[in-house]
């Protein structure tokens, strides 16, 4: 190859850094979309997946990790497997936290007795998108993100609650019985 062309190509092959916030923008957009493949492709554990519905999307407060975002997504209504539960179907919610500097994150709330060992969030992608899916029965839940074993992050735009037992800020998620 000609020297000039080789020099141009080498120059253009240098890595380009795209704003990592693009990941969060993409994820926020797709959470409002139906799961690829549709119900027919899922037909097993998530047999009757409904259209995802974003419930909240909020920047975290000033005390939180810089540039972090948190949101909760209703993924699907889950099958009731026993007659006893037929009156109260559970729903799958995906909790998402973007926390680039966190080393580990747990979801804590009424649904797991605020036990930080029970619902660890999984890190996906280099930009530290932390996610976990939790089935929730209809009801009202307080929840928070527990970051690096020391910081509690709540959702400032969701209804706030002060947990009487722990005194830490938390958010409220209300799961309806229908859909």
């Amino acid at each position: 190859m000609d020297d000039v062309i080789e020099r141009i190509a080498r120059h253009l092959r240098r890595p380009v850094q795209i704003d990592p916030a693009l990941d969060g923008r993409v994820m926020r957009e797709i959470t409002a979309l139906p799961t690829p493949g549709g119900a027919a492709a899922l037909g097993k554990a998530w047999g009757w997946l409904t259209r995802p519905h974003q419930l909240t999307l909020t920047p975290l407060g000033g005390l939180a990790v810089a540039a972090a975002l948190a949101f909760v997504v209703l993924l699907s209504r889950m099958d009731s497997t026993s007659p006893a539960r037929s009156q109260a179907e559970s729903h799958a919610f995906q909790f998402v936290l973007v926390a680039p500097r966190a080393t580990h994150v747990e979801l804590v709330g009424d649904f797991n007795d605020w036990d930080a060992t029970r619902t660890p969030m999984r890190r996906t992608g280099r930009e530290a998108l932390w996610t976990v899916v939790v089935p929730l029965m209809p009801g009202r839940y307080h929840y928070a993100f527990f970051v690096d074993g020391s910081r509690w992050l709540a959702d400032p735009s969701a209804p706030a609650a002060r947990d009487e037992d722990y005194g830490e800020p938390s958010s409220v998620l209300t799961v309806g019985g229908g859909s």
Binding site: M1, D2, V4, I5, R7, I8, A9, H11, L12, R13, P15, V16, Q17, I18, D19, P20, L22, D23, R25, V26, M27, E29, I30, T31, L33, T35, P36, G37, G38, A41, L42, K44, A45, W46, L49, P52, V73, L75, S76, A92, Q94, V96, R122, T124, G125, R126, E127, L129, T131, V133
Partner: protein, 185 residues
């Protein structure tokens, strides 16, 4: 380096997304963001446009993931979507530009401003790249920057191998001429 060997676990991630694990898509976005972003940036010459197109490509790919017949080649499939989005964005930008051109023929024959003596190599390359016809720029980037085989390029662009070879050849000749000229300034 080709487009078929990027990430051995692409297929697993795609399948997880298809079964409802939306978070798995973040892995795919993070994996391809910078590399696809590089192509979009060089193709469109503008970071803002490149990021907009890239985001659009990722979202479109997610929407169409059920049609990704071969999850092992997710990268190549995604690349094809991005190439198309860049073409659309480029055409849109060209239409915008034409609104301000009252005499295209005169402008085409007029001497274009080149990089001045203070411009560095990066400016010169971007300047020259932007002057290539979009088809030639596309072919040059895919061949010499993304280092794809002509057969892969043909699949991505829909153009024949011979046409692509000709576009690359012309692009090289034009770039050589422009950059040599720029180095003399």
């Amino acid at each position: 380096m080709g487009i078929g060997n990027v990430g051995t676990s692409d297929a697993a991630l795609v399948r997880r997304v298809q079964t409802g694990d939306t978070g798995a898509y973040a892995d795919l976005v993070a994996r391809y963001r910078d590399r696809l972003g590089r192509y979009a940036l060089h193709m469109l010459g503008n970071r803002e446009d490149a990021e907009e197109v890239l985001q659009d490509a990722f979202v479109r790919a997610y929407r169409s993931l059920a049609r990704c017949d071969d999850p092992e080649r997710f990268g190549a499939w995604l690349y094809g979507i991005l190439v198309n989005r860049c073409r659309t964005a480029g055409a849109r930008a060209a239409r915008r530009a034409r609104r301000f051109v009252h005499d295209p023929a005169a402008l085409e024959t007029a001497p274009l401003a080149g990089p001045d003596g203070r411009a560095d190599w990066d400016d010169a390359v971007r300047w020259a790249l932007a002057r290539l016809p979009s088809e030639s720029r596309e072919a040059f980037l895919l061949k010499h920057v993304e280092e794809l085989e002509y057969e892969d390029m043909a699949r991505l662009t829909g153009a024949g191998v011979s046409a692509l070879k000709m576009r690359v050849k012309r692009a090289r000749e034009q770039l050589q001429a422009m950059l040599k000229e720029a180095e003399r300034v």
